[in-house]
């Protein structure tokens, strides 16, 4: 029985791993092919099945004038927009979440929960509904087709995630911890950044990770709100597709656009396992 269970368990794990990893291997292999090797017959292993070439990768860094599709600039645009918007969202979102978790707000019928819901409701609406007001708003203030405009829109999209995660996190930090800090001579701001914040690192990392992921993978708003001046990576990758699909450079660009998220996942995993709060909660 024990053995059968083990056998089934590992079979499942192996199948699942293949299911997850296979597309990546397929993309890696395709990125080193040329037109000939993609379209002739099914091939997998370089040198044995087909002759590898770096053409698919070279196209990505060549300027359009020399027959390439420069994705270096969109790549850095994406990094800039995602990081800036995530950072601002985390800072503002954490402050908002702390206030919502610790203070009681009353404005007419509006209470803390209503305010939290207001933040989250930004994510409930389908993006297509938001796109029209965003478009009009950005064109009115003259930020259409600009990095700054994208940052503004992404903050609207990412801050609810930060607020949502951090409110939940702060609610689980005992209020007595803040009170002890106050009693020990901290004013409320010092209590926040000297005591609450250092104990909120796991929450901040989770919130940051979600912001980066959702910012990085957004295609829709990057597509609607930019034209020629500024382009983000997802839009550029999709734009590679023309009458002939360049599978090799498409695979290469897909791989390098996934790379940052994989790195983030590995870094974050280290921090997440260190639950830091157990001492205060016991």
């Amino acid at each position: 029985m024990e053995k059968l269970y083990k056998f089934l368990k590992y079979t499942f794990i192996i199948l699942w791993t293949v299911f997850i990893v296979a597309p990546f291997l397929w993309a890696v292999s395709t990125s080193f092919k040329d037109f000939q090797s993609v379209n002739s017959k099914v091939t997998y292993i370089p040198w044995l099945d087909f002759e590898p070439t770096l053409e698919g990768w070279r196209v990505l860094v060549k300027s359009p004038a020399r027959g390439g599709v420069d994705i270096v600039e969109p790549y850095f645009n994406s990094i800039f927009v995602t990081c800036t918007a995530s950072l601002i969202s985390i800072i503002l979102g954490t402050l908002a979440a702390y206030a919502l978790s610790r203070f009681t707000f009353k404005a007419g019928f509006v209470r803390n929960n209503d305010i939290t819901f207001f933040f989250i409701s930004q994510r409930i609406m389908p993006p297509i509904v938001l796109s029209i007001p965003f478009f009009i708003f950005l064109s009115t203030i003259g930020l259409l087709d600009s990095l700054l405009g994208l940052v503004v829109v992404y903050i609207v999209l990412l801050m609810p995630i930060a607020v949502w995660i951090m409110v939940d996190f702060f609610n689980r930090v005992p209020k007595e911890l803040d009170e002890t800090a106050l009693i020990d001579g901290c004013n409320p701001y010092q209590a926040f950044y000297k005591v609450v914040l250092p104990n909120s690192i796991p929450g901040l990392i989770v919130a940051g990770m979600f912001c980066i992921i959702f910012g990085w993978i957004d295609f829709f708003f990057a597509f609607i709100l930019t034209f020629t001046e500024v382009q983000l990576l997802p839009v550029k990758v999709v734009a590679l597709n023309s009458s002939i699909t360049p599978w090799w450079s498409l695979s290469a660009s897909a791989l390098i656009s996934v790379a940052p998220l994989i790195i983030v996942a590995f870094v974050v995993e280290r921090y997440l396992s260190k639950g830091n709060l157990s001492g205060a909660l016991k």
């Binding site: 005992p174 007595e176 002890t180 009693i183 001579g185 901290c186 830091n276 709060l277 001492g279 205060a280």
Partner: protein
């Protein structure tokens, strides 16, 4: 120059947490707040700390209006019943935190912290992480942080309640020593608890609190000997004092068809109905006594608690040895009539075995 509270009332959500509480705490003294859970003890301490603002009433310390001073400038220290420390700091950094906050000189900080750690017996634990400590040790760190501060008002909110039995006994002993020698004559110590035994052992001035109201104030001995009313008698004894509805005639005390000789201290009482009170420890097993039925027998430590019943009356007897009883078994018990209290119909104390009802 004392800590004075006048008519403090705090009533969120239509329920009294503090109901017209007044007090006058003098420096160098130990005050214990005794009350059941949700009786307002924590609210009381938080109000003094400044974490809560009372709806009405005045609070002053050293002649200054305390309500105008924010928490972080009040120079109080507080130990919570949950073990609250800063989890991101080690033991030493935890204890040093409030001193650094006050920007004292390095040398002064060092001696104060070392002294506090020595007092609570945590020398050698300086570099440990809080998460690596046991509950008792965590509470010691919290106490060390409070002591190192040398605050003028030290608040302890049921500091032992979350510890297991053995550790509680041990730490209670240590607390007693720390308070008796470590407390400067410049400080006021306020200790809240649900446990009457802690109150008696700490032997300070007691305030009995119930539903936010002060029921009785006085030295521990006074509360024990002359509980002002039935509620105090119940709160200040563990197990609660037994209350028996009965009648006093010229010759006998009668309840549940049991008649008992009138104790000498009842001689001057009017003949009428009373609530008679007797502590569990004043009831003994005796073959010549009255027959009661056992409802429940609990062994706790080296004692046995018998929950007994006769007619409508229920009593708890404390037997000072471990004995096995069967439920519904009949036992004979004898009341120590010289330790009977008498409360009137309104529940107020009329006569006490310790005499002297001045307050």
């Amino acid at each position: 120059m004392n800590l004075i509270g006048e008519n403090l009332t705090y009533k969120p959500d239509n329920q009294f947490h503090l109901n017209n509480v007044s007090f006058d705490f003098k420096k160098g003294n130990l005050y214990t707040i005794l009350g059941r859970t949700l009786s307002g003890k924590t609210t009381f301490l938080k109000t003094i700390a400044g974490l809560l603002n009372p709806d009405s009433g005045n609070l002053s310390f050293e002649g200054k209006d305390f309500s105008k001073i924010p928490v972080w400038e009040r120079n109080v220290a507080m130990v919570y019943q949950q073990f609250i420390n800063y989890p991101h700091l080690n033991v030493y950094e935890n204890v040093i935190f409030p001193l650094k906050q006050r920007k004292l000189s390095e040398d002064k900080i060092k001696t104060d912290v070392d002294e506090a750690l020595k007092t609570v017996g945590l020398v050698g634990f300086e570099n440990r992480k809080i998460q690596e400590l046991s509950g008792g040790q965590q509470q010691r760190v919290a106490l060390a942080r409070s002591l190192a501060k040398k605050a003028k008002i030290l608040l302890l909110d049921e500091p032992l309640v979350n510890l297991d039995y053995k550790l509680r006994e041990q730490l209670r002993e240590e607390f007693k020593k720390i308070f008796s020698k470590g407390l400067s004559s410049d400080a006021i110590l306020i200790y809240s608890t649900t446990d009457p035994q802690e109150v008696m052992e700490l032997n300070g001035e007691v305030i009995v609190l119930d539903e936010g109201k002060v029921l009785q104030k006085g030295p521990a001995k006074e509360i024990f000997e002359n509980p002002r009313n039935l509620k105090v008698a119940e709160i200040s004894n563990d197990p609660p004092m037994n209350i028996l509805k009965g009648n006093k005639s010229s010759e006998k005390l009668i309840f549940e068809n049991i008649s008992i000789n009138i104790p000498t201290h009842f001689k001057n009482l009017e003949d009428q109905n009373y609530n008679f009170g007797i502590r569990a420890s004043e009831i003994k097993l005796d073959d010549q006594g009255e027959e009661f039925e056992i409802e429940l027998a609990e062994i706790s430590g080296s004692e046995t608690l018998l929950h007994l019943k006769k007619g409508d009356s229920k009593v708890i007897a404390l037997i000072e040895e471990v004995m096995n009883f069967k439920i519904h078994e009949k036992v004979k018990i004898k009341f120590n009539e010289n330790k009977f209290y008498a409360f009137n119909k309104e529940g107020e104390l009329i006569s006490s075995p310790y005499g002297d009802l001045n307050g």
